[in-house]
Amino acid sequence: MKRPWLPMAVCLLWALLAIAGSWLPLDPNQIHLDSILLAPGTGAILGYDDLGRPILDRLILGARTSFLVAIWVVSLSATIGILIGTISAYIGGWLDLVIVRVIDIFMAFPGILLAIAMAGIMGPGINNVVIALSVVGWVGFARLARAQTLSVRERDHVAAAISMGTRTHRIIFRHLLPLISAPLIVEATFGVAAVIISEAGLSFLGLGVQPPESSWGSMIRDGARYMLVTPHMVLAPGVALMLVVLSVNLLGDWLRDVMDTRIRQTGTDK
């Protein structure tokens, strides 16, 4: 399988800009009154927005927002979801029954809708975005981890570990999790793409980060307002968002093939 160099480069650039953004000489909030809505090329590479702020600088600030939210939400929801899913499947009994019902209830909400409602009710801000998206996000990991654990928990080495008196948490962390990690890593990668879009969506609706902070979603919303005058304001953040999401998805596709999760899944079922 060919390595997806280009998507890797895009993701790397995204992460680098997000991390190094605070040390770069940027003026995302500097207002240039004589440059309002100026098109790209004239002074700034990507032009200026409706308040005369350089779009490139705000784009980099937005990369930081999407990166931070994506990393936090995926780490939080993966940790919580995997723990709940694995424990539920391994211990079984009434605990498993209750957890499956809870998962069903969470699955009953269209994901983004629940996030919109929670972010809207808790009030805007990056912390509430992370909480809302994690509350929605853990379910997928829990479901997957539960199904995977069910398929490997009857294996001989687990039985051997139990018979030697190994503690439950050690069995889960040392004997089960490593076996089921491949599909979970793939799920986490696609999760990053989904969270980037959701964060931008919440910010588009005005429920995400607040000004003067920047998000690609709120940039798209502001840009759409001035579309008739000049389209560059809506084009720049949209292209950035699409490129990153596309790259993360391609990376996920590649990881799935490399880790061979489908073959592994069918192999363990039999």
């Binding site: 809870v102 809708l113 809506v234």
Partner: protein
């Protein structure tokens, strides 16, 4: 069959109850006092007390819950704070627009996905296949709040074919439906492709080909009909994505449906309307999924035997 139906109905009822409890609890997630959030810090104490009483927030949680729940059974979802109209009335007024949009988006996605998925499967590993899969990847990677403005930019502002927003004109539905349907078409075409590829490898297809049946009939009649079963289930599940996406798409195009109502209510802190809309959309989703499951169970006996075991 009866056991399958009872099981499915019972679990749906359980999920619906859970969903209502969560929606009820939503308003208690407001940081601090919901009344403060709605009226602002400067409101008069008398107004606060009146709103608190109107929302039932001055009563113990358990009483609030039982009132909310008995209200649900009578179709009483409370009263909008902004317009002082019953929430159920507002929801019924807006629902047709959302149903119209969702059905149109569904149509768009099927029109795109079916031929594309079939073409990709039949011409596997050719340029057609790769093109279809590239479209599919692009479709899930373009958020609808960007695709919408782009379509407006090209087809409304540029070419002037369709109105920019609203629902008044005959062409109003086209751009929102394409915006909402694209992501679903992307997922659907992948599913059609993989499902069809699986069926095309089965023995009865080889038999059909061996007896000299035209390839066209083998693919479109024998293979596709069997391949569509899992696709139908996916359609049910994708309805959730569709309803969630409708919230954003309706905002982009100022489409006067439930999604726009929800967002407006959130921005106005009109919590009873937010609760009512979320509840209605989620319950619709659950019920549609139950119906898909039951239909699937009728069509394919393997399913209903499997889930009651």
């Amino acid at each position: 069959m009866l056991r399958f139906l009872t099981y499915r109905l019972f679990s749906t009822l359980l999920v619906c109850t859970g969903v209502s409890i969560m929606v009820f609890l939503l308003i208690h997630m407001v940081p601090g006092d919901p009344v403060d959030m709605m009226l602002g810090e400067s409101a008069r104490p008398a107004d606060r007390a009146a709103l608190r009483h109107a929302l039932g927030l001055d009563q113990p949680l358990w009483t609030q819950f039982s009132q909310y729940f008995s209200g649900l059974f009578q179709g009483n979802l409370g009263v909008s704070i902004h317009s002082s109209r019953p929430v159920s009335e507002l929801l019924l007024e807006r629902a047709p627009a959302t149903i119209e949009l969702a059905l149109a988006a569904l149509l768009v996605s099927v029109i795109i996905a079916l031929p594309m998925g079939v073409l990709a499967a039949v011409r596997r590993n050719t340029l057609w296949d790769r093109g279809a899969m590239a479209f599919s990847l692009l479709g899930v990677s373009i958020p609808n709040f960007w695709l919408g403005p782009m379509l407006i930019l090209v087809f409304s502002l540029g070419l002037g074919w369709f109105p920019v927003s609203g629902r008044e004109y005959s062409g109003s539905l086209v751009l929102p439906a394409i915006t909402l349907g694209t992501a679903m078409a992307a997922v659907l075409s992948r599913m059609v492709r993989s499902s069809l590829l699986e069926v095309l490898g089965e023995d009865f297809i080889r038999t059909a080909r061996a007896k000299g049946m035209p390839e066209r009939i083998v693919v479109w009649k024998h293979a596709l009909l069997n391949a569509l079963l899992p696709v139908i289930t996916l359609l049910g599940l994708q309805l959730g994505v569709l309803l969630g996406g409708a919230v954003i798409t309706e905002t982009v195009f100022s489409w006067p449906g439930l999604g726009k109502l929800t967002i407006d209510a959130i921005l106005r802190r009109d919590y009873p309307v937010v609760q009512g809309a979320i509840l209605l959309i989620s319950i619709t989703y659950v019920v549609v999924n139950m119906l898909t499951d039951i239909i699937y169970g009728i069509v394919d006996p393997r399913i209903r035997l499997g889930s009651t075991k």
